[in-house]
Symmetry: C2
Subunit: 459 residues, 2 copies
């Protein structure tokens, strides 16, 4: 089980819409007195803005902000309806918003300002800058129609932005935001992933069986060579640690496929066909022999290409995560020092059984970053956990086929803190641009979001 599952693990992108790339000088530390600042990037899309319209403010999450522009088409789809200005703010320590440039990740002292509180305070300054420019009003004024949006971790930030700074945004649309992940039972996440694969024949059972086969085969050196060949591993298995890493990698692949199981081809996390889970399971079925166990690993390796090699250009598979990838490194840091999300799997899941052990987790974190993990409920002290009854104007949306829905707000809290459930949707689906294959449920959810925003804006 990897330490920090990226809420979104993302590819590079190319942006179609015209934008203005700006930078705002923000304090490195908003909560203690310091003179240090750095440049935070934000992107401004003016094409649909008409004076008097609101600002749609996307709270950037754990990647280059352009990735979210490319995968949050919903904002651009509805901007003309509202005459809205669209702004995407980058999260500090990602993309081009690195506080210490090339040495941002080189030591613990430089990393320590990577927290949700600091990120939210950055966003408030960008909003102040934007409203100053477009509306020439103070934040204290009544006429600052800024609506926060965010998906995944960005959705958590959008909800928290509204909770902590209700004077800065009139409401928040928080899509696929696992704000309760730290406090729900640790097995829920992998349960949803399992459900996703269980819809297709024996698919989850095949995967469930594969771990035992891998463990058995790997007991001998020839078996290890065998596995390495079957799965075309770039670095052949040598040690038990290698095997563990390979098993973690497979688990992450299944999680990713479940998260972005969109009904059309995407390249959000990697190049993928429509319905990747179905494509994977279909392929497995076609390869699995009558005697299921015999050719199971070969079938698995073949089917995996749906995820690992959609382009057909990849010669081998890397199972060890690249420790130098700054996005993964930064996110793992966050998952270690603040956003601890306990995860485990039981014998009912298609994953290897794994318990949650905060002590071990914290020790691993300490080894990597020189800082251990807080108790998981410490995030409650900051944001209140499930106690949202004093918040207002937050719309949580969750696709029930999204593993992260396990930590979502799945029912209405009050008249203004609402939850929309989208039965067939996966991660971040409702924030994507409209598509011919969108289900009725997704279209309805998007309409409900628009109605709710209109209510906030008194339109």
């Amino acid at each position: 089980m990897t330490s920090g599952i990226l809420l979104l693990l993302l590819l590079g992108v190319c942006l179609a819409a015209t934008y203005d790339e700006r930078y705002l000088e923000v304090p490195l530390d908003h909560f203690s007195i310091s003179k240090s600042t750095f440049k935070l990037r934000y992107l401004v899309y003016e094409q649909d803005y008409v004076k008097g319209g609101p600002t749609f403010f996307y709270c950037g999450n754990e990647a280059d902000v352009k990735v979210f522009v490319e995968n949050t088409g919903f904002l651009f789809d509805i901007a003309p309806v509202f005459n809205a200005l669209v702004v995407f703010a980058e999260h500090r320590y990602y993309g081009a918003s690195l506080p210490f440039a090339a040495s941002t990740f080189s030591n613990a002292a430089n990393m320590r300002y990577l927290t949700t509180s600091q990120a939210l305070a950055d966003f408030v300054l960008v909003i102040d800058q934007i409203t100053g420019k477009y509306y020439r009003t103070m934040l204290t004024d009544d006429t600052y129609p800024v609506v926060a949006f965010g998906g995944s971790y960005g959705g958590m930030l959008a909800a928290w932005l509204r909770m902590k700074y209700p004077h800065a945004v009139i409401g928040a649309v928080a899509s696929s935001a696992p704000v309760l992940q730290h406090q729900v039972p640790c097995y829920l996440f992998y349960q949803v992933v399992t459900n996703s694969f269980a819809k297709y024949d024996n698919c989850s059972a095949w995967i469930g069986e594969s771990w035992r086969l891998l463990r058995n085969l790997s007991n001998s050196d020839s078996g290890k060579r065998n596995i390495s060949a079957i799965f075309k591993l770039c670095k052949p298995l040598k040690t038990e640690l290698d095997l563990s890493k390979m098993i973690d990698w497979l688990g992450d692949v299944y999680v990713d496929m479940a998260m972005v199981n969109y009904p059309y081809p995407t390249n959000f996390v990697t190049e993928l066909p429509a319905h990747p889970v179905k494509a994977f399971c279909d392929k497995m079925r076609s390869f699995v022999k009558v005697n299921e166990t015999a050719g199971l690993l070969d079938a698995l390796a073949e089917a995996l290409q749906v995820y690992t090699n959609a382009t057909g250009r990849k010669s081998c598979n890397r199972y060890d995560t690249t420790p130098n990838d700054p996005v993964q490194y930064a996110w793992d840091y966050q998952a270690c020092v603040e956003l601890v999300m306990p995860m485990c799997s039981t014998e009912r899941d298609m994953f290897e059984e794994a318990t949650w052990d905060l002590g071990n987790y914290s020790k691993e974190c300490y080894g990597r970053y020189g800082v251990g993990s807080p108790r998981p409920d410490s995030i409650n002290l900051k944001y209140g956990g499930g106690n949202l009854r004093y918040a207002s104007n937050i719309l949580f949306t969750n696709g029930l086929m999204d593993p992260w829905s396990s930590g979502g707000v799945l029912s209405n809290i009050s008249e203004t803190v609402l939850s929309i459930l989208i039965p067939d949707a996966v991660h971040h689906y409702d924030l994507r641009g409209a598509h011919a294959t969108d289900s009725h449920d997704v279209i309805e959810a998007r309409n409900a979001i628009v109605s709710t925003i209109k209510k906030w804006l008194r339109l």
Copy 2:
């Protein structure tokens, strides 16, 4: 005009009630990742607590927390009505809650964690500790009846605590809390002080006249000696700077008298008789000659003893503030780097005319602390300024004779963010213990506070 007028300038105290003095290890920095901690003091009063009762949590402000215990008798008066536990938490950098012990104030690096955000986060941890101990519930639970209280700057903290951490306290009583001081017209504060003295004959006019006399007389060395003798100054006036300091000192004395113009003798800021403003003005009247100008300074010096020498034991007056007083030093730092409160006086006031100049103010701050002042509205970015419509369960109380009411919330904001005005009350009056001379208005205000708390607690 002094840079940072202490909201409360306080004497030592002796505590009557029995309390438990405790310390909680809190992070030095709640918002960035750090392993440093220090011990925050809090006092617990159990005598009226009955299981099931709420906690009354006083948000300590800029002094030793015991000062507030001694001058916030209201909490102890009403604790038996609610079976309440009473807790007074100390503000970091004051009293016994010094993060770096003896070297807390020795350099800018050690001072930088003295901010409102850090103080509020400290309080949340103390509340978590208290509720864990007494209620054995999580903060996320619905049953954590903690009511925040605070007076003056502590009242600002109580209101902000409820705004930022509504899951931690069910409501906040914010007495004499100038949460808008940074954004109201800068002359309001001294206007209220002037009104306070104007109630008694020519008292404010006499004071208004005194500045010119002092300036004129001080033009010669013999005049300076004269003034020094009349006012029994410990350090005779030598320079223009000395005179400025002496004038600032006189201004501060008038402000203090107006703030704590209680109808009975107190020792909140210093040993004072009942109605000190009246006592001062009465004394002036009895000394002022028929030709008012001639003996005005002598009369003033005599009358000043109401404030400076109620005990009759003082041999001389210190007009230069003691720069080594840690309370004044810490508060000035806060007034410089975060809580900038623009103040000025006009020709309508009894003070010397003075303009507000952020540039100069900031330069002075830079000279003292190595950090300049932010723009005054930057506090709005954090707390929303007057935009309180999304807050809930906050009760602002203001005495209209309190100079700090100039920055108070003086009207209801919503059904749950309420304002009580007490026409004849001064600073922090309603939070004081019941007294035989309490006016009908004050008693009524206290009853309204009790009713409001009962509503919050659904009693």
